[in-house]
């Protein structure tokens, strides 16, 4: 690991003896989860709890003529069958727009469809019964009469005048358009030696969390309080929105989020069926459980990507990139998702294209259109894989055109490591990136020259291997600029409260959440290190709006950078408070004392002076022995939000080495490398595995994953046999390296690492496939790179 700490002499709270920072330590929740003692929403069983099954539309677009639930209501175990109209008395509809995305429009969406269904899978009625099986049986007896409407499915024709408008009140099917023009693009293209263009196509895919979306909503009439048990990334956001649409105060809603089996952005949104479950509990005055099954997960969990992006790059013979231009089109389903909206991904594409490079000439248009398919929204690495694939694909095409090595064109155009702070042509501000250091490290890790030699030797034997490189930037630690400024009640700050208990252990409440990525571990590592106690003495509480400070949660690679800094600052205060009391007890001064290994010690010789448990005993049980006027505060709370930079950008570079069977179109991944710079690394293993997991999701998009819709808007592969997720057998070894440029905006210096892997993996693979295809003069710019796509490009079928 290369460390570029700005000021290594000054010891921060993190560099203390026995610090856990930068160490791979086991996650505190591991035993609980490995022993099957986790508590997922499915495990929650409450007295009088009922189960809801949603009857879902088989049509992509249809008018609901009638719903006859009389037979279903007679079925065994059935408690209620509720239509959208009936539920609308309890819960109000919503519109997924944000004011900072100018012009973004959407139509009101209801918890259960009223009068009209707009995608195959939209809920038409809720069947509530004593068990899920009984509800499914009854659902088969609800008779719904539909009148089919024209389904708008092809995003390319969604804006044609001949195409019906999905929401008449909106006037057209355009949800959002953004145009950006920086520098002098036309002039730059005119002065280029070569201009290359291509259309990049990205399949629609989804997150496929191991644990599906799940909710238990429990309306307690006596307390007039709703408790929502939900696997969510953002409990306070859920609290705000549930209260808003059920006509409650936020204090009347508690959101409890225990263990979550993967989220990846899937569980950071507000879904209609989840809203319906809250409302059903209120309507029926009993706990109601909804657990999505795998088929409805495919049909209703947000989809992502599905972009067609035309790109253009200008280059001079010496390799200088002169300009980028893109025209991006994406279809988001019939509604903009609530509350984060479905315009963010396209907006990110505009923001991020060309981001790693020096050129200031950049023009972009992005259009977001409605269609009668499942809703689309933010999924891991929002917009990044598209921007990275387009940018890096264009850079490679330009290099190919002028006969320059892909490494060399990047060396000549990546922003210099000493050029910071600076801004991208789309206006993103970079504090400190390390593209060149990362690239140099990557080249060394993969032994680039040896691979090129191997590639050449094998080509003679008709074995076609390819190398693909992809530099990228990643948005992390978002400030209020992401959502707050647009009017969404999604907090960008996080809070942490730490307190010393009566035996000298620490209880830490944090507003970030844990979905498997290690939030609990990193928080305990920071608290233990800063305070000077062992990690086993730190208990972390997360995911409960009644019992944690107010905050955003875990999404957009923000947990470590924002929640971690809040933990650091809160613990510093607690530490100071403890040392003040210790000084009073020991008739010393705080400056002469330190906390090491769970005890207050003398700085001068490290000699133990008083154990924390003894200090706590005195504070809590014998305060009468303390000097007059001393009031101990063994609990401290701090909040943090980045203020200087809207986002803490990170950077990195990935490489793929693969073999292409040119007879069959099959791709075999041989090896993958990532070098990334997320600033301070708290737990190297957690970071490396985040990167690897992200890469695997990116490889899934590159080779396998696609939601296949037919022209009538039917999702035709909504099961785990036909929707191909990446599996271990096809995954290569993934080597991860780091460059460390801490952000100076926090004392911790951590930026995010959750999305870097996903951001660049598909671009690296696509570039490698095109490298392998070079002798055949074929180029592929569509993912997933199925054998069918590759054989077609090769002209073999």
């Amino acid at each position: 690991m290369t460390s570029d700490k700005a000021n290594p002499e000054a010891l921060s709270a993190l560099d203390r003896p026995n610090s856990y920072i930068g160490r791979t330590v086991p996650r505190p929740n591991l035993d609980r989860l490995m022993q099957g003692r986790g508590l997922y929403v499915s495990d929650v069983e409450l007295p009088r709890m009922a189960h809801v099954v949603f009857l879902r539309s088989p049509h992509a677009h249809a008018r609901i003529i009638s719903i006859d639930a009389s037979a279903a209501k007679q079925m065994p175990g059935v408690i209620a069958v509720v239509s959208g109209r009936e539920l609308s008395t309890v819960i109000t509809p919503w519109v997924g727009v944000l004011s900072h995305l100018k012009g973004l429009k959407s139509a009101p969406q209801s918890a259960i469809a009223v009068d009209r269904v707009c995608w195959q899978g939209e809920a038409v009625a809720a069947v509530v019964a004593a068990s899920r099986a009984q509800a499914e049986d009854a659902a088969e007896h609800v008779l719904v009469k539909y009148e089919g409407l024209h389904a708008v499915t092809d995003m390319r024709t969604a804006l044609d005048p001949a195409t019906p408008v999905i929401h008449a009140s909106l006037g057209d099917n355009l949800a959002f358009e953004r145009i950006h023009d920086a520098g002098a693009v036309d002039q730059a293209f005119a002065e280029s030696d070569e201009v290359v263009d291509a259309e990049f196509v990205f399949g629609r895919h989804t997150g496929v969390t191991l644990e599906p979306r799940a909710v238990v909503a429990d309306w307690n009439v006596a307390e007039a309080r709703l408790t929502i048990y939900q696997g969510t990334q953002a409990p306070h956001m859920v609290q705000n929105i549930a209260a808003l649409h059920l006509g409650l105060k936020e204090s009347q809603v508690r959101v409890v989020c225990k263990d979550v089996g993967g989220s990846f952005g899937i569980k950071v949104h507000i879904y209609a069926d989840e809203m319906a479950t809250y409302a059903l509990s209120k309507l029926l005055r009993r706990p109601v459980k909804f657990v999505a099954d795998r088929v409805e997960s495919f049909n209703t969990d947000i989809h992502a990507r599905d972009h067609r992006c035309k790109g253009k790059i200008g280059v001079k013979r010496d390799g200088t990139i002169t300009a980028f231009e893109i025209d991006d089109l994406t279809g988001i389903g019939p509604y903009s998702m609530y509350p984060r909206t479905s315009a963010i991904e396209a907006n990110q594409v505009v923001n991020l294209v060309g981001g790693p490079y020096v050129t200031g000439n950049y023009r972009a248009r992005a259009r977001v259109v409605f269609q009668n398919k499942n809703v689309m929204c933010q999924y891991r690495a929002v917009g990044h894989p598209i921007a990275c694939s387009v940018t890096e694909g264009l850079v490679d095409l330009a290099a190919m055109k002028i006969g320059l090595d892909p490494l060399e064109i990047r060396r000549r155009n990546l922003i210099a490591d000493n050029a910071y702070p600076c801004a991208s042509p789309s206006g993103l501000r970079f504090e400190q990136l390390s593209h060149h250091a990362a690239l140099a490290k990557l080249v060394q890790m993969m032994d680039y020259d040896a691979l090129r030699a191997e590639q050449a030797a094998l080509r003679v034997k008709n074995v076609h291997r390819g190398i693909g490189i992809a530099s990228f930037i990643e948005v992390t630690n978002p400030s209020a600029a992401f959502y707050g400024v647009g009017g969404a009640k999604i907090s960008s700050q996080d809070g942490v409260a730490v307190r010393l208990d009566a035996q000298g252990s620490v209880i830490c409440q944090t507003s970030i959440t844990e979905q498997g990525q290690g939030s609990e571990s990193l928080t305990a590592q920071i608290v233990g290190s800063v305070l000077g106690v062992s990690m086993d003495r730190v208990r972390v509480i997360l995911g409960d709006t009644d019992n944690t400070p107010y905050g955003g949660g875990t999404w957009a690679s923000r947990g470590a950078g924002i929640g971690g800094e809040a933990a650091l600052q809160a613990t510093k205060v607690l530490r100071k408070n403890i040392l003040d009391i210790a000084a009073a007890i020991l008739q010393s001064t705080p400056g002469e004392l330190d906390i090491v290994n769970n005890a207050v010690v003398k700085v001068a010789d490290g000699a133990p002076r008083i154990d924390l448990s003894e200090l706590a005993r005195i504070v809590y049980f014998r305060p009468d022995t303390l000097p007059p006027g001393v009031q101990p505060e063994l609990m401290a709370t701090r909040h943090f939000v980045p203020r200087e930079y809207p986002f803490a950008f990170t950077n990195g570079v990935q490489a793929s080495w693969l073999e292409l069977d040119t007879d069959t179109g099959f791709v075999k991944l041989l090896k993958h490398w990532v070098v990334e710079d997320c600033g301070t690394i708290i737990n190297p293993q957690l970071v490396d595995e985040q990167i690897r997991g992200g890469v695997v999701q990116g490889l899934g998009a590159a080779l396998f994953e696609k939601c296949v819709y037919d022209e009538r808007g039917q999702l035709t592969n909504a099961n785990m046999a036909d929707y191909l997720v990446p599996m271990s057998g096809e995954m290569p070894d993934i080597d991860v390296g780091h460059v460390v440029s801490p952000t100076l905006e926090s004392e911790l210096g951590a930026k995010g690492a959750g999305e870097a892997g996903t951001a660049g993996a598909a671009a690296a693979v696509t570039n490698a496939v095109n490298d392998a295809l070079k002798p055949f003069g074929a180029i592929v710019t569509e993912i997933p790179l199925t054998p069918q796509v590759i054989l077609t490009a090769l002209g073999r079928i």
Binding site: D137, D293, R294, T664, A721, G729, E730, P787, R796
Partner: protein, 293 residues
Amino acid sequence: MKASAFAYARATSVENALDLLSVHGEAAKLLSGGQSLLPAMNLRLIAPELLVDVSQLVELRGIVVKEGVVTIGALTRHADLLKSPEIAAHAPLLMDAVAHVAHPAIRNRGTIGGSLAHADPASELPACMLTLGATIIARGPSGERRIAANEFFVGIYETALTPQELLVAVELPVTPINSTHFFHEFARRHGDYAIVGLAAQASVKDGGFADLRLGFFAVGDRPLLANSASKLVDVVITSAVLTEAASALDDELDPLEDQQATPAMRRLLAKVLLTRCVFALLARPDLCAGVSA
């Protein structure tokens, strides 16, 4: 999702199972390993009224080699086949094929009888039965029936079995000592159903084929024992001969379109498999380059 309500009976003997089948007819479904049946029920694609669980009929499980015949009980699991010394010695093609069947968890429960009776055109074992010239033994109300493999598979998920019959065993001739085999399939991921697959058995003599049986799967609505194999037997194999055989194979195929491949892609892959099979069995790398698939 949950299956619709169904009745369940655990058969105590083959006779008991047959009795239950004759009483309930098409309303009943046989449960052996459950690896295809139960997912279909949970998706509510099928809703049998009665499951007749034959999985405990130990007499239907096991492998016996006698007088040049390998008899495999219908309830023999894929995992049993994979570790059977008898299969390794006398039907090694089957061992290679089973390694491609799904994943260990599925191979631990799935049975050969279940797989053959299910007759998924993309699964491995039906094609192996054709290649190996198997006889499928069924028992019904009127006694035992022996069905040649090439008459057993009649369409997608369709076999010559009647609703009253129970597949009890398969018989394979012991593979001759000088015989050699080839098994390969193209699947998007390890363990997926094949896009196209080939199970081949051959006798090689003087650098050519004295006998060649090519069992293709996922190239139509049922496994295909390719007649075009005859074009490669008792001739000197050249690129031209191979191209002609590939062309003849093309005429025999009737591939379906699905999520993974168009018919054109299946045709191409089948011909690539043919070429690679011949190349591997004859150890003739020169052939690979010269053939236009």
